[in-house]
């Protein structure tokens, strides 16, 4: 039941926060924060159990629709837990970031925020495909409302665009889920939506490919992979700071998680067959996102485009389907959540003070707000992959893994790193240095913002300097789900149109110690 509580606590916390609106003041904020802190502690306790010998650290099964073959099946392994912890953590950061920014309808705001958290949490823990779909959709409506009610000027259009894009992908996934359900049912005679049942469903090549595409549609839109990314800059630019933190930090991660947990294990051959095409999209995304980031005048849009670039790395790492790259993608997901989330908090803080997102109207803030400048510099460096910080480790591991698969890909992806240096430093330079355009400047960050940013910085530093512990406990081991699927690295370099005849079952035991040392050495 512990996992069911992990999902329910945020939701009930949100309802309680909403109900406490009458009490006024900081009540809703505090209640929401406490609920997430409790949730975080709960998840840590699951992590503290260590290896239970089985595959899952915790598992919950409840009846739901036995006639249909859908149940409430939640389970957490290291991967789920890492992302669930990140969810609670960034949820707290989002609440802290909205502490002064959201003055109207605070109760309802926190209800929406906590509902998003509950949906994301559920998506990271659900092992029943129908339940996963329900959670996957559940985050949409409250997120939509967060953008539409508390967003800025173009918020309606942005909210609609976000919703329709993601919904279109989701619906295709639903059709695929149903297709898989029937394929499995007719093959085995057992109709079930349970992940463990569906793993290794025997099916024809064409069927597998089409079903995989449905899942890919949903995950690629959410991630977002180019060319399905156009909703993201708009949604980010118009969302309130807390909403941006959730979007960048969590919603994008659900797409990546879906690929790792569902796409590859369920459709190994088809995923591999389409891998070359995805590689190309990922590399285009890395470079295109970085180049577009350079052309932005709006601070939040700039950060949004950097997300497209970073998530391209994650996509590349996942589709390489190779121990090092996968773990790199995971580290990058966590660090991107923290560093980009922090940058959005800073952007939100600037907007709250200077009432603008236009970088042309910013400049010289360092003199009036040195602490904010320092924090911005730190996270900009993290974002551009400074060795010693987690983002570097993630990107490095991805490149290392991908290099083994296809050196050319790794080389082109590395170009994105070059561009990231330019946009990160340019952003800091434009906003914090140069002549002060706003007369008196802006007030510096207070204790609340400093504490939030410091905790996020600590996460990035911890993963950058000492990743061994994280990767040991939560890294992606040789098995994801029940089956170990190793992908023949030679196949990926070929055309991949036919795919290999058989999936080679291998065990990936990435040399974590080596990776950890590497991070450590670079950090010194």
């Amino acid at each position: 039941m512990i996992l069911a509580w992990a999902v329910l606590i945020p939701f009930f916390g949100g309802v309680a926060a909403w109900a406490s609106t009458r009490l006024g003041g900081a009540f809703p904020r505090c209640i929401a924060l406490l609920a997430l802190a409790l949730d975080f502690a709960l998840l840590l306790s699951v992590l503290g159990r260590g290896d239970s010998g089985g595959q899952w650290l915790a598992e919950t099964r409840l009846e739901w629709m036995p006639g249909v073959g859908a149940g409430i099946h939640l389970a957490a392994d290291g991967l789920s837990l890492a992302l669930a912890l990140l969810t609670a953590f960034l949820g707290m950061a989002a609440i802290a970031a909205s502490w002064t920014g959201i003055r109207e309808r605070t109760g309802f705001f926190h209800l929406c925020l906590m509902s998003v958290i509950a949906g994301v949490m559920g998506a990271f823990l659900a092992l029943d495909l129908l339940l996963f779909y329900v959670f996957w959709e559940l985050m949409l409506v409250p997120m939509f409302l967060m953008i539409a009610v508390w967003g800025h000027g173009g918020r309606y259009r942005a909210a609609l665009k976000f919703f329709i894009f993601t919904q279109a992908g989701s619906l295709l996934m639903l059709v695929s889920i149903l297709g898989l359900y029937f394929v499995h049912g007719t093959e085995t005679g057992k109709y079930s939506f349970d992940y463990m049942e569906l793993l290794g469903t025997p099916m024809g090549r064409a069927a597998e490919f089409w079903l995989m595409l449905g899942f890919l549609a949903a995950f690629a839109v959410k991630l977002p992979a180019v060319p399905f990314h156009t909703w993201l800059p708009e949604a980010h630019a118009e969302a309130p700071a807390g909403g941006s933190v959730l979007l960048a930090g969590l919603l994008l991660k659900t797409g990546a998680y879906g690929m790792i947990r569902f796409l590859f294990p369920l459709f190994p051959n088809a995923a591999e067959a389409i891998a070359p095409a995805v590689y190309v999209l990922a590399v285009i995304g890395i470079i295109y996102g970085a180049v577009l980031a350079l052309g932005q005048t709006d601070l939040k849009r700039l950060i949004a485009y950097t997300s497209v670039s970073h998530m391209g790395f994650v996509l590349l790492g996942i589709f390489a389907w190779e121990g090092l790259a996968l773990n790199g993608a995971l580290v990058l997901m966590v660090c991107h959540g923290a560093s980009t989330g922090a940058l959005f908090i800073i952007a939100g803080a600037i907007e709250e003070r200077a009432h603008t997102r236009e970088m042309a109207r910013m400049g010289g803030f360092w003199s009036s707000a040195p602490k904010m400048g320092g924090a911005a510099l730190f996270f900009a460096l993290a974002s551009m992959g400074l060795p010693g910080l987690g983002n570097f480790l993630g990107e490095f591991l991805v490149l290392l893994g991908v290099f083994g698969v296809n050196p050319l890909l790794a080389a082109s992806a590395a170009l994105g790193l070059v561009a990231s240096v330019i946009y990160s430093l340019w952003m800091v330079q434009k906003v914090f240095h140069g002549p002060a355009l706003q007369g008196p400047g802006i007030s510096d960050i207070g204790v609340r913002e400093a504490a939030t940013l410091a905790s996020m910085a600590a996460l990035v530093l911890w993963l950058g300097l000492y990743p061994a512990h994280f990767l040991d406990r939560m890294g992606i081991k040789e098995s994801i789900g029940a089956t170990a699927i190793g992908i023949d690295s030679k196949a990926a370099t070929g055309t991949g149109a036919d795919g290999p005849e058989a999936v080679r079952i291998t065990e990936h035991r990435p040399d974590m110690e080596g990776a950890a040392e590497l991070g450590g050495i670079k950090g010194k």
């Binding site: 006639g67 129908l130 939509f144 919703f163 919904q167 279109a168 639903l174 359900y181």
Partner: protein, 476 residues
């Protein structure tokens, strides 16, 4: 007629007697509340009489009426919908001009027609039920005279008349070919003689008539004008009870006769389904009136529902039933929200009228939002599971084209549902509103109950599924 026969058709008898009693009492000066209460209690009594009726089921009462799990379940659904509509009507009608007693009498008679439809096993009952329902609707649509209402009523009258004539002609052709009017015998006879051109022509004409009643494309032209012109609670009745009764009948007709297995008819129905989805959703994008939007949305929903028809089999039956139940709740709830807001002076119908409602009437806006999300098929609402079962039935039969059309259309439809939700949650504009008028109690209770039911059916489908499985066994 034995005693058991009478018990089996108890719901119809209750409604008939109630209509007669209400007519007699209307001669005396009765209060509006009394009339509404009388109608509600008649519906509740009819609902309760399903219990003894189910003891007598399954039973063929003459050749016309078949009382079985299917008809009982749909009778229950239709009566539930009628109760909700009556409760919503009370607050809406309060203080309006004209005698209000007759409104409820006609509502009783219209529901009687719907219940007869749900239990028809014969062309004669089909036609009788449809006409009882149809004629009552002409009255209801134009009940509160006004330019819009008159136009809507005349439009409905003329087109429904044409549809009825198509229906009768179609029935005659089928009878000429098969020599029977009983659904249960048709499949056997058609099998003996093979399907001839007369049969196809007859079925095609029946399809046209049914398509009109269901407001499926391309027979949907009347729906937006009529829904907009009719009083809001009557719109709810039209969209739910009138459509639902015809759908219940068609389920029996097509599943019992197996005529959808005929290739041409299957293709025609598939085309109608796809056309309804696209026409309804795309035209809804351009509406500024909430009632018109809901009208187009209900056209699209018929398209989704037809996928379950085309899938056939037990899965199709169950999916269609669940879909209808979910659709009933959502569409009545959505029209109900419009009803509750509309006073006796004007209909609150334009999108702009809804701005900022969430901040002034949070519970009402919340219920309305839930209904819209259910129509859009978002999880945790009945509408999602309905759509899920329909898609499931479609995928199970490999109707890929239809299922993809459903997915694409759901994505299109999101836009106009969200547009209403955005209006609800946008900051109120204009002057600060004065004290809000009190919401009518009966209607508020009805909307609250519908919302709870919506979430219950969206989270816990077990009980309804069990009933639907049983209903599907009635003739499969």
């Amino acid at each position: 007629m034995s005693a058991a026969d009478l018990i089996a058709i108890l719901p119809m008898l209750v409604l008939t007697i109630a209509a007669v009693v209400a007519t007699v009492l209307a001669a005396f000066r009765t209060s509006h509340a009394f009339n509404a209460a009388l109608a509600v209690s008649a519906f509740v009594l009819a609902l309760l009489s399903l219990v003894p009726a189910s003891k007598a089921a399954p039973r063929a009462v003459t050749a016309l009426i078949s009382v079985d799990a299917h008809s009982l379940l749909f009778t229950g659904l239709l009566l539930g919908a009628a109760i909700a509509v009556t409760l919503l009507s009370h607050g809406y009608n309060e203080g309006r001009e004209g005698g209000l007693a007759e409104f409820y009498i006609v509502l009783l008679i219209a529901t009687l027609g719907a219940v007869v439809l749900a239990a028809s096993a014969h062309f004669a009952a089909f036609f009788l039920g449809l006409e009882i329902l149809g004629v009552s609707l002409y009255v209801l649509i134009a009940y509160f005279l006004g330019e819009r209402a008159n136009e809507a009523s005349v439009k409905y009258l003329i087109l429904a008349g044409i549809a009825s004539s198509f229906l009768v002609f179609g029935m005659a052709l089928v009878y000429a070919e098969l020599g029977t009017m009983e659904f249960s015998e048709m499949a056997g006879r058609a099998g003996e003689s093979g399907a001839g051109p007369l049969l196809f022509a007859g079925l095609a004409m029946i399809t046209v008539a049914a398509g009109f009643k269901l407001a499926a494309a391309p027979f949907h032209m009347w729906a937006p004008d009529v829904y907009e012109g009719a009083p809001a609670p009557v719109g709810a009745f039209l969209a739910a009870v009138s459509k639902g009764a015809v759908a219940a009948l068609l389920l029996r007709f097509f599943f019992q006769t197996g005529s959808l297995a005929l290739e041409p008819l299957f293709i025609v129905f598939g085309a109608i389904a796809v056309a309804s989805m696209f026409a309804g959703n795309i035209l809804a994008l351009f509406q500024t009136s909430v009632k018109r939007t809901l009208a187009y949305s209900s056209i699209a929903h018929v398209g989704y529902l037809l996928i379950a028809f085309l899938a056939g089999g037990r899965a199709g039956m169950v999916a269609a039933g669940y879909y209808l139940a979910a659709y009933f709740i959502s569409i009545i709830g959505a029209f109900g929200a419009v009803t509750l807001l509309s006073g006796k002076d004007r209909e609150i119908d334009l999108l702009d009228d809804y701005r900022g409602l969430a901040w002034r009437r949070p519970w009402l806006a919340g219920a309305f939002t839930a209904m819209l999300l259910s129509l859009a098929g978002m999880p945790l609402t009945a509408g999602f599971l309905g759509k899920f079962f329909v898609a499931s039935a479609g995928v199970g039969e490999a109707l890929w084209l239809l299922v993809i059309a459903l997915a694409v259309n759901s994505a299109i439809a999101i836009y106009y549902y969200l547009r209403i939700i955005i209006a609800l949650f946008s900051p109120a504009y204009g002057e600060a509103p004065g004290p809000l008028p009190r919401l009518p109690i009966a209607g508020t209770v009805a909307l609250g109950a519908l919302t709870l039911l919506l979430v219950f059916l969206g989270v816990y489908p077990g009980p309804l599924l069990a009933l639907l499985e049983e209903a599907a066994s009635a003739f499969l």
